[in-house]
């Protein structure tokens, strides 16, 4: 691939590509990600729809919060169990809404670490108003137009501090 064929203007995600330079030598070129530059909207669209679908199932009680995050973060049962340090047979129970109530606080803390969310977020859904609609914090993160939602850990491993304020 020639250098000019490989260059993508996308500062948000940079990478090194090995290309043929003008003098015929092969070498590194810093460039943007082709797929992110051209298909990011589609990726966000799919992630948003997946979150909405899982959220509706969660609210209906068809799935447990553990299954919600396991599917959303693309983990297998065995991988989740290994990462959480919980027996696979027990994780399997926690995937079932009727048995999820047997989960201990400490197990919730372990799941929260795997999913990298505050423990409280396993038991709540945060929607943020962005422009005219509400969007999940998992999709929007803290990038809503008018509202800032910041969650920070505290010395207490079971408690998160959530600050909601209007952006100035």
């Amino acid at each position: 691939m020639k250098e000019k064929e490989g260059f993508i203007d996308y500062p948000e995600q940079q990478m090194i590509l090995y290309v043929e330079k003008d003098d015929g030598k092969y070498g590194p070129m810093q460039t943007g990600s082709y797929i992110s530059a051209n298909y990011m909207d589609d990726y966000v669209y799919k992630r948003r729809n997946l979150e909405i679908d899982l959220r509706e199932q969660l609210i209906r009680g068809s799935i447990s919060p553990v299954r919600f995050y396991m599917v959303f973060e693309d983990l297998t049962l065995s991988e989740l169990a290994a990462r959480a340090g919980i027996r696979q047979s027990r994780v399997k129970k926690h995937l079932e809404p009727k048995l999820f109530g047997k989960v201990t606080i400490d197990e919730l803390r372990k799941y929260a670490t795997v999913f990298n969310v505050p423990l409280a977020n396993l038991l709540q859904i945060i929607l943020i108003k962005d422009k005219e609609s509400f969007e999940s914090s998992l999709i929007l993160e803290n990038k809503a137009d008018k509202t800032s939602v910041e969650q920070s850990p505290t010395p207490n491993p079971y408690v998160v501090l959530t600050k909601i304020e209007e952006r100035k």
Partner: protein, 326 residues
Amino acid sequence: MAAHCESGTITSLLNHGGLEITEPLVFGIASGIFFGYFHKMKSFTFPTFIVRNKPGQMRTNIEKRLGARFRTYDFKDAVKGQERLDQLLMQNIPTAAQVDFFYMDYVPSWERVHINVHFLVVTGKEGNTYKISDAYFPKMVELDALSLEKGRFAGGSMSPKGFIFHLDKLPAEIDYTKAITKGISKACFYMLKIPIPILGIKGMRMFAKKVVEWPKFARDTEHLSHEIMKINILLEDQGTGGAGFRFMYATFLQQAAGLINKPQLKELSEELMKIGDGWREISLYSARIGKNRDLGPEKLKQLSDMIYDRADVEERFFKTLSRAIK
């Protein structure tokens, strides 16, 4: 920045230690180029493939073939793991760490996935924040201690176990002819002769055969679209230098040709660049049909044919390379 985290990390430690060597040379000498297809595995929710050798092997191969020595540590206890890292940093020793990419908070969320074999270099600490040189970022980044600990001690497949390493010693002299020859001959062996049907050229053909079955693993069209488009990401975006490492390996061959005076390697580098262009076509095709949700049997058959074609050309290529290096 570097093309790939493990080869980039090793290169930066070697460079810092005084050895002038490029990332492609490190990658090639370490026999980094490879292929493997995983149709069903407990660790993966969907069929997937790899385009490099086993994580960790680059470092051990570089030690064997260049005579460099890395001092390595792993830990059961996260507190001891942090203490040791902090001690090394206090001595101004840049230290590589293996981490789960998912906890690297400086990475945009859309890039973050659970993968336990990301490598980075920790260069310092200020207060509760580590200074990090990550191959995938143009500038130095920072990470809080808790996030680094989560990354270093994540569980699951190929868990890092707090693994860190730094350069201990460089040899007085390096026999590049021997190192390059060994690196290439091992890469050829693994691509051509390893008797496991999911690995090497056989693995490529397995991928070509099985990709037409992917729809039955998908929840729905959106899921299938995501997984087909991931082919582009695995070949181009997850730190390969382009075309599933084929462009970087072509660069290695070009550099090796000059270093050990073997002109045939230069011709082979040009051939591999063209092979890489073929993989690039597969990346673009996957992204296009995924985006358009044009994922019927005909399109998947066409994708399959493109992959079979890469298997054929790479088989011829690695056979020629194997003969060239004897």
